[in-house]
């Protein structure tokens, strides 16, 4: 019930994604490149470096069935990479954005992907077979600020987005020709870009939206250290908001319809569970922290400050102010990204990986009671 593996890949990792067989991991080490590492036995070896972007790559998603990598960057571009032999070949996707792209996700059927951007719009891109390229359709209305996260509903048509205006919105992304065979009667508004719902639960910026595996529950986190759960968004929404004890969350993951993992500025994943009546509550932190003794040394920076000033200052024993306790635990800095790791044949998810600003990718494993 804890961290199974910890790998230090770089100084700082923006986002990461796993290959379908989980032998390779692609991540962005806080620059304009994407590094792909492969596990050989016990060691990780750098296999490929994808460097087509000009600015930091902020979103990576690896499709599980078609083995394609999509990357988006602050330079307003997006590339779809497909592996041909030993090389990764990029295909530029014209997103028609005039601001940075912030997040990307493949749809469940992997025929579309959604990009959220700082241009207050979302791009839905799909592949056009006749012209052999990716076409993007924009949803420009509605958002009043940058779109921070996007999440696809399992039906491949509904898309939930969170934005820095604090609202979570659900749109329909039905595209004739791509979705025509899968149009379900449950989504009545089939027009592209139609807003199904707008949720005003959070007063501050919203991040980390996710649908539950069955698609009946929507969850997202607000920067005021709250997490919101909404049941049955389409017809009869009912919401629960849970305040957190500590710092806000950045990303969420549904392990099942009743268990959610949240990661954020606490550097420690949090588990939320729903009981039989559907009431959500915080269960525990995942990482067991060792109770660290409060050291009397001040920070290294304050020593440097003393040296800069010239006097040989002994850092005082700090009986006036308590220094912050050093943290134990797998992550040392904010966790920004959480990715599921499905076991072949399993229907329930019990493994996932997190990456953070400390440059580590940590794999966690949980036993989930049925």
């Amino acid at each position: 019930m804890a961290a199974v593996a910890v790998h230090q890949f770089a100084e700082c990792i923006t986002c990461h994604a796993w290959s379908p067989d989980q032998s390779m991991v692609a991540f962005c080490p806080n620059n304009s490149e994407v590094h792909i590492y492969k596990l050989f036995g016990e060691k990780w070896e750098k296999m490929h470096v994808l460097s087509k972007h000009d600015q930091i790559v902020c979103g990576i998603d690896w499709s599980l069935k078609s083995n394609k990598l999509v990357t988006v960057s602050h330079d307003r571009n997006s590339y779809v990479w497909s592996q041909e032999g030993t090389e990764w070949v990029p295909t530029l996707v014209i997103l028609r954005l005039n601001r940075a792209a912030l997040c990307v996700q493949w749809s469940p059927k992997e025929n579309k992907f959604a990009v959220g951007s700082g241009a207050k719009s979302i791009c839905i891109c799909y592949y056009e077979q006749e012209n052999n390229w990716w076409v993007s359709k924009l949803i420009r209305k509605r958002h009043e600020s940058s779109v921070t996260n996007v999440a696809w509903h399992p039906d491949n048509i509904l898309l939930a987005t969170t934005s820095t205006d604090g609202k979570c919105r659900v749109f329909s992304t039905y595209i004739k020709g791509v979705d025509s065979k899968e149009s379900e009667s449950s989504s009545s508004d089939l027009k592209f870009g139609e807003q199904i719902a707008q949720l005003d639960l959070s007063v501050t910026w919203a991040f980390g939206v996710r649908w539950s595996p069955s698609g009946s529950i929507l969850a997202y986190a607000g920067h005021n250290s709250m997490i919101h759960f909404i049941d049955d968004v389409k017809s009869n929404p009912s919401a629960q908001s849970i305040p957190l004890r500590d710092l806000p969350l950045r990303d969420l993951l549904f392990l099942s319809d009743r268990v959610v993992v949240g990661v954020g500025f606490d550097c420690n994943p949090m588990i939320f569970t729903a009981d039989d009546t559907g009431l959500w509550s915080f269960t525990k932190f995942l990482d067991q922290r060792k109770a660290a003794p409060s050291s009397s040394r001040g920070s290294q920076l304050s020593e440097a400050f003393g040296k800069l000033y010239g006097t040989s200052k002994q850092v005082p024993s700090n009986d006036t102010v308590e220094p912050s306790k050093p943290r134990g635990g797998a992550h040392e800095n904010c966790i920004t990204c959480i990715v599921p790791l499905w076991k072949r044949g399993n229907t329930t998810l019990c493994r996932f990986s997190t990456s953070g600003l400390d440059g580590k990718v940590v794999i966690w494993e949980l036993d989930i009671p049925k």
Binding site: C12, T14, H74, G118, W205, P248, L301, S302, F305, P326
Partner: protein
């Protein structure tokens, strides 16, 4: 007297723990740019309410935070004219060398003596709790420094005057 400073600094530390939750955020106004939103001040939706922590009328600390940056401005205790001059000169000395400190702002915010600007890049390179330790330690040390300076100015003045007047004995 010693107790109030501990409360003041603990309050500032707790506020900074909550406020220093920064993330990389590209500019919404200008494409391909990444600016500290607290300095830019154009999108009210991206800036949080500023928090002012006052110890008394003379000492206070303003913490303004946004999605990717935080600005901490402080006003240092200046009891008399001499401390006024010493504080001004000392803090100007530090501000001019802001490059070396990385988190220091070259000019203090209007109405304050010194300002720090911490961006998400600083939080990525350095540990957040160490940054907070630095700021709080700085605040604690500033008072001591200025008292020491004042003492040494007075001592030196006394010495110089004694030596000078000896020739008239």
């Amino acid at each position: 007297m010693a107790n109030t400073i501990r409360l003041y600094l603990t309050c500032i530390r707790n506020t900074l723990e909550a406020a220093m939750c920064l993330q990389n955020f590209p500019c919404q106004e200008v494409e391909r740019h990444n600016k500290p939103e607290v300095e830019l001040n154009t999108s009210p939706g991206l800036i949080m309410n500023p928090v002012l922590i006052c110890r008394n009328e003379a000492e206070k600390c303003l913490i303004e935070t946004s999605i990717n940056s935080i600005r901490i401005s402080m006003k240092v205790k200046q009891a008399d004219e001499l401390e006024n001059i010493l504080a001004k000169k000392f803090l100007r000395f530090l501000s001019m060398r802001a490059e070396a400190f990385q988190v220091l702002r070259r000019k203090p915010v209007q109405g304050y003596d010194i300002s720090f600007l911490i961006t998400n890049y600083h939080c990525e390179e350095m540990h957040k709790h160490k940054l907070i330790d630095f700021i709080v330690q700085f605040m604690e040390d500033i008072d001591k420094e200025i008292s020491e300076l004042k003492l040494s100015v007075n001592t030196r003045g006394r010495l110089v005057a004694t030596e000078f007047l000896k020739q008239f004995i």
